[in-house]
Symmetry: C2
Subunit: 670 residues, 2 copies
C-alpha cells in the first residue's frame, strides 16, 4: 500500500465585484434601511486548470487581492466570485462554465454590531443546515447545497468601506480523510477516447457539480448523478469514480467542495474509501479536461462524522488571519460620482427611521429658477443642494462686489477683483465647485420693472421678456429673491401665467417674509394681492443704506432656508401647490402660506392671505392685458406703473370707495 | 498808450488726495450718515514759477489729472490741492510755502440728489458770501476769504466712486478788466537788490496772500498789508503795486485769486487802474522770486461790478466741460483692503437710519471659538463674517467627506478628494478665501468626551486639555457646534471656569435648540442644567442614520444664524452675558436664553432654564473636582461618566428622591 497522507483541500478565496458593494449600499439605503434580516446572495466558481495562463473568466474589477493560505502551494487562488447582481436571486448572469452556489448575507447596522455578532453560533447554524440537507437527501438532488456559504457584512456608507467575512462550512470527520497516494493526472489513467467520452457525458448531463463515473474497459465510460448511486455502482468488474467540479488549480490538492461531498457519501452510503475524479475543464473547450486529477481518499477505520456536526471554513483575510476583510471603495470610485452618491446618502437616511414616506425623488427632480443671486439667492441655492436638487438656474444682472462674499455664500474674494464677475454666472460656477454633478446655469438678464424705463431697445426688451418666459416655463419652482418690490412683479405675472410654484422671500432690517404664491385661480394670494398701489420705481433715488438692503446678517440664512423648506413641504403635500394653508399637513408637517419673522423678538408667525381679483401681479385682468401684446404692455407699465392700477381694476375700486366716502360726508352734512 | 487786451486769469485745477476721499467715506459712514449738512473743508495752493522743472511740492497721490483750460497756454496747471486731512479744520498740515483757502463741502446721499442740486443757487449764495466779506471789510484782514470755494460731492461708497464739482466764484465787473501791456518779468523792472528786499519783507510779513508794495527809488521797497491802504499810498512820487501770491505758472496770465482782489480794490478804494505784482517764489529759496510778473490792469470807464454780484468759476472737468469730475478709487485701492472696508461699510449703514446705537466695534473685536466645523460651524462662521467679526477659530478632528459640501458651506468638492482635508484647517482656509483680512485658524484637537475612553497617551490627553483650555481662555465667545451631547461637556466646564459666553446650538431631525449658557454663579442654566444623567458615549454604536445626524437641510442655516444673532444681541446688551432672559432688551431687541425651533410647524418658542447647583456641566462642585487634578479627573470621567453624577451630587439627589418614593410606598402599604 502506498504511503498515506492527510488529504488537504484548497480553500475558497472570495472575490467580490466592486459593483456588488455598490448594490449592497443601494439596497441598504433604499430597501433594508435599519433591517438586519438575512439576505440571499449567490456566488459562482469555475473549475481549476493549472496549465492555464489567462484567468479562467473575464477578470472583473475585484476588490480583494486573493491570497493563498499557508496550506497550499498553488499559484492561482481558488476563486469564488460574488457578481454585481449577487443580491438578486432571480439573476443568474454568471459567466458560462461556472457553478452557482447560494449563500446567506447578514448585514449589520453598525461596526460594533458586526464585531459583536455571535459568529460561532451563526457558523454552527449554517453547518447544521448543510448537515440536514445531507440527512434529508436534499443534497442528492441539489448538490450545490453542499457549498452553501455565509457572508457577514457591515457597509460603512459614509466612507465607502465594506467590512465582510465569508464562511464556507466544511463538515469534519473525527479524524481527517487520508490520501492514499499523490494526485494523478487523468491522462495517466484514462485514454483520450475515454476522456472525450467523459467530457461529452458531462456536458450532456448539464455539468453537474458532482457526478458518478463508471469505467467499463475498454474505453467505455458511464455517467450518472449522485441520486443514481444504488443502481449505478453494481458491476464490481468496473472501476468507479465519484467526480466533482473541482475549483482547485493545485497539482496536489482538490478543492473545498469535495469536503461536504465526502461527508454526504459517508453518511448516506457508508463510504470509507473512494476513487475521486477532480474534474477540471478548459472553459469553452469541452474536450480539454486533461487538467483533471484523480485521487484515492480513505477515512481511518472507526472514524465517523461528529454528531452534532462540526465544521471549519471561515475565510482568512489578506494577512492570512482569521479576521474580516475590508473593501475600501472610496479610492476606486470616481470622486465626482462618489460625491453625487454621498449627497443622496444623507438624504436617504431620513427615510430609515424618521420619515419613511418622504418622496426624495420628487425634490431631487425639481428644477428651480432663482431670480436674484444675492444673499437670499446664495442661501437658497445652498439649501437646495442640501436637499439634493440637481437643477438650479440663476438670473441676476449684477456683478460681485467686495461687500458680497461675507454675506452671499457662493462668492469669494477672487470673484470681486477686476470689477467683479457677473453674479449669475459666478453663482452657477460656485455650485459646480461644491457639487460637480449639479446642472447649474446663470443668466445675465434685466428683469423689466414697473417705473424703470428700459434703457435698452425694443428688441432687447423683447429678448429679455422671451428669455424670462422660457426660463419660467422650463422650471418647476420660481424663487423671487431680488431686492425690490417692483422686480418681483413681472416674474409673478409670468409664473401665474404658467401656474408655477412661486417661493418669495423678502427682507427688512430684522424682519422677513417667506411665502408661496397661491396657484392660479386658487384662493391663496400672491405677494401683490394685499397691495392697493402698483409697484413702481423704488430704487433710483435711494440712499446708500437703502441700496444695500441693510439687514441683520443672519436674516438671509434664515429666510433662505425657510423658503426652501417651504418648497419641500409643498412638494411633499398631496395637493402640491394647491395645498390649503392650514389644517392640511404633509409628511413634513405644516405647509403655511406666509411666514413672517421678527428677529428682534426671535419670533415668527404664520399668516394666510387671500388672492385678490384686482391684484396688480396675478389677476386674470392683468394677465389678459399682457397676453394681448406682451411687448407693448410691458413698455407701457415701465413708463407708467399706475396704468397697472387701471388694468387691474384697483383704480376703479379706489375711486368707488372715495365716492362712497364723499357720499357719507354729504349725508353727514345733511 | 500801449495796446490793451482783455485780462485773462489762469483758473484753478483741483487736485484731491485719494486719502481725502477715504476720509470723506469714513466721515459719511461714521459721522454724517444720512446728514446732508454742509461741511468745512480746506485746500491750499503754492505760487507758480514757470522755470520750475519739478513739481512745487511733494506730489501726493492725486486722483485727478489736472488739465489746462482752453484759455491758457501754460504747461503746468494751477493746482489747488485738497489734502487727506482737508475735512479737519483744526488741521493745517499743508506743505510749507503754500496758502490755505477754506471751502464748503456739500455731500449728497444719492447721485440723483447730486444731479438735482440747485447749483446756480448754491453758487450765488457763495458769491454773496464773498461779496459781503468785501463790503464789510472782513476780507481786508483775511484776504484768503476772497478764495473761498465750494465743493459738491457724492460718495458712492459701494463702488468707491466719488463724484465732485469745485466752484471758485470770481466776481465779475460789467465789462472785463483790460491788460495795458503784456506781463513783464520782475527782473526787467526791479533791481536784484529790490527783489531781495521784497522777498525778505514778504517773509517777514508772514507771507500774506496779498500785499501792498511801494517802491521808493533808489532801491527801497516798502511793504504793507491790504488794511494799510490809506496810510501806505501817500507819496505820489513813489511807484505803487498791489501784490498777490500768484498760483499761475503762466508767462502771460495771472492766477484766479487776483479776480476777487481786483473786485475788493475797486469796491473799497474805487481803483480803476493798477500796477499788479504777481508774486511767484521758489519754495525754500526765499530770494528766488524772479519768476514773479508785473502787469497793469485797467477797468473800462463807467464800468462797475454788478449788484447783486455776478461771478464765474465752476471748474471744468477732464473733458474741459462744465460738468462734475469723478474719482474712481476702486482700481487704485488694494483689493484686499477694499474688501475689508466694504464689509464694514454694509454694517455701518445699519447705524445711519435703523439702529444708530448699534455698537459694531464690540462685535467686530469679539474673538469667536467654534467647536465643530460641520454644518453648524460653517453657517455660524459665515454669519460671523457677515457681522464683521475678524477673529474666528475652528476646532474639529474630522476630515471633509463627500457628503459635506452641499450642507457645510465652507467646503467644496476639491476639499473631499484624496481622503478629505482636515476640517478645521479647511474651514479656516475657506474663510480667508472669502475675506482675506480675517484672522482664521483651525485646530485638529480631539475634545475629551465622557464615556469615550481616550485611545491616546496621558501626554496627548493632557496636551488636548491644555490646548482647549488655552483656546477658550484666549477667545471671548465659545460656540458649541459638535454633533453629540458628550462633546459639549468639557468645553462647558472650561468655559464656565473662564466665565466666557457660550452659544450652544444643537439639531434634531426638524427641531433645534439655540441657547446661551448663563454666566458663572448666575441664575441662567447651561445645556446640562436640565439633565439628571451624566453625558456618556452616545456615538460608538450608532447606526448610519444616527451618525450622520439626519436633519432637514435648512435647519443648520437657521440655527447657526440664530446662534450668531443671539451672540450679537448679548454683546449689545448693557449687562452682556449677565443679561436677564426676559423683560430686558438690547438695542436689537430681546436677548432670550433658549430658542427652541420646530420646523415641521414653522414655529419657535423662547424658554428660560434656571441654573442647577448639581449640574454635571457647570456646577461649582464639578469645576472644583476638575481643578484639583485636571488630567486624573478627565481620565476618570472618560472611563466612568457616572462618576460625574457622584461629583455633581445628582446621584445623591436621585437616591434621596427614590428613598422618598419608597417611603411613600410604605406609607401607602401601611
Amino acid at each position: 500500500m502506498a504511503t498515506s497522507s492527510i488529504l488537504q483541500f484548497t480553500p475558497f478565496a472570495s472575490s467580490v465585484d466592486a459593483a456588488f458593494w455598490q448594490e449592497l449600499a443601494n439596497k441598504k439605503l433604499n430597501v433594508l434601511k435599519l433591517s438586519e434580516a438575512s439576505q440571499p446572495v449567490y456566488a459562482y466558481y469555475a473549475t481549476g486548470h493549472s496549465q492555464q495562463t489567462h484567468p479562467p473568466f473575464p477578470d472583473t474589477a475585484n476588490t480583494t487581492s486573493s491570497t493563498t493560505t499557508p496550506t497550499t502551494t498553488t499559484i492561482m487562488p481558488t476563486r469564488i466570485c460574488v457578481p454585481a447582481q449577487g443580491l438578486d436571486t432571480n439573476d443568474d448572469t454568471r459567466p458560462p462554465f461556472t457553478f452557482r452556489v447560494n449563500g446567506t448575507l447578514l448585514n449589520t447596522n453598525t461596526l460594533e454590531d458586526f464585531k459583536k455578532l455571535d459568529k460561532n453560533q451563526l457558523f454552527q447554524q449554517h453547518t447544521v443546515k448543510i448537515w440536514e440537507a445531507i440527512q434529508n437527501e436534499d443534497a442528492l438532488d441539489h448538490p450545490n447545497i453542499l457549498s452553501d456559504f455565509l457572508l457577514l457584512t457591515f457597509a460603512d456608507l459614509k466612507k465607502y468601506k465594506f467590512y465582510y467575512w465569508f464562511a464556507f462550512p466544511a463538515l469534519m470527520p473525527q479524524e481527517p480523510w487520508l490520501q492514499i497516494k499523490p494526485m494523478d493526472s487523468i491522462g495517466n489513467v484514462f485514454s483520450s477516447m475515454e476522456m472525450t467520452a467523459l467530457a461529452n457525458a458531462y456536458q450532456a448531463a448539464d455539468r453537474p457539480p458532482s457526478f458518478l463515473l463508471r469505467r467499463k474497459k475498454p474505453n467505455t465510460v458511464l455517467f450518472g448523478q449522485l441520486r443514481d448511486w444504488d443502481e449505478f455502482f453494481t458491476n464490481e468488474q468496473d472501476e468507479f469514480w465519484v467526480g466533482f467540479a473541482d475549483p482547485s488549480h493545485s497539482e496536489t490538492n482538490p478543492g473545498w467542495p469535495l469536503r461536504n461531498l465526502l461527508a454526504l457519501l459517508h453518511e448516506k452510503h457508508g463510504i470509507r474509501k473512494l476513487n475521486i475524479m477532480c474534474y477540471r475543464e478548459m472553459p469553452g473547450k469541452v474536450n480539454l479536461i486533461d487538467a483533471s486529477k484523480l485521487l484515492v481518499a480513505e477515512l481511518p477505520p472507526t472514524c465517523h462524522y461528529s454528531k452534532p456536526p462540526k465544521s471549519v471554513g471561515w475565510e482568512r483575510n489578506a494577512q492570512a488571519k482569521l479576521a474580516p476583510r475590508m473593501a475600501d471603495l472610496g479610492p476606486l470610485m470616481d470622486p465626482i460620482r462618489l460625491a453625487d452618491t454621498a449627497v443622496d446618502l444623507n438624504l436617504k437616511l431620513m427615510r430609515w427611521r424618521v420619515m419613511p414616506d418622504l418622496d426624495l425623488d420628487k425634490v431631487k427632480h425639481t428644477k428651480c429658477l432663482l431670480l436674484g443671486a444675492g444673499t437670499l439667492g446664495c442661501y437658497v441655492a445652498r439649501c437646495l443642494l442640501g436637499w439634493g436638487v440637481r437643477h438650479i438656474t440663476f438670473v441676476d444682472n449684477g456683478r460681485v462686489s467686495f461687500s458680497n462674499p461675507v454675506r452671499q455664500p457662493l462668492y469669494t474674494f477672487q470673484d470681486c477683483i477686476q470689477g467683479g464677475k457677473p453674479k449669475a454666472e459666478a453663482a452657477a460656477q460656485s455650485l459646480l465647485e461644491i457639487q460637480p454633478t449639479v446642472n447649474a446655469k446663470g443668466y445675465d438678464i434685466s428683469i423689466p420693472m414697473p417705473g424703470h424705463v428700459a434703457l435698452s431697445s425694443d428688441e432687447q426688451l423683447l429678448k429679455d421678456i422671451e428669455q424670462l418666459t422660457a426660463l419660467i416655463q422650463s422650471h418647476d419652482v420660481i424663487y423671487l429673491l431680488t431686492d425690490s418690490r417692483e422686480s418681483r412683479w413681472f416674474p409673478t405675472l409670468l409664473a401665474t401665467l404658467s401656474n408655477k410654484l412661486v417661493i418669495n422671500a423678502a427682507l427688512g432690517f430684522d424682519t422677513y417674509l417667506v411665502m408661496r404664491h397661491g396657484a392660479r385661480h386658487g384662493s391663496l394670494g400672491c405677494y401683490f394681492c394685499n397691495d392697493i398701489v402698483a409697484p413702481a420705481d423704488s430704487l433710483t433715488d435711494r440712499t446708500l443704506d437703502q441700496q444695500c438692503t441693510v439687514t441683520r446678517p443672519g436674516l438671509a440664512a434664515i429666510a433662505g432656508a425657510l423658503g426652501v423648506e417651504l418648497m419641500v413641504s409643498v412638494l411633499q403635500h398631496a395637493d402640491g401647490m394647491e395645498a390649503a394653508a392650514s389644517d392640511s399637513d404633509c409628511v413634513l408637517g405644516r405647509v403655511p402660506h406666509q411666514v413672517r419673522g421678527f428677529l428682534g423678538q426671535f419670533h415668527n408667525m404664520l399668516i394666510v392671505g387671500q388672492s385678490y381679483a384686482n391684484c396688480t401681479g396675478c389677476s386674470e385682468k392683468v394677465i389678459e392685458a399682457y397676453q394681448q401684446d406682451p411687448l407693448q404692455f410691458i413698455k407701457k407699465i415701465l413708463h407708467d406703473p399706475e396704468h397697472l392700477e387701471q388694468v387691474s381694476g384697483i383704480a376703479q375700486m379706489k375711486a368707488e370707495s372715495e365716492a362712497l366716502l364723499d357720499q357719507d360726508w354729504e349725508e353727514d352734512d345733511f
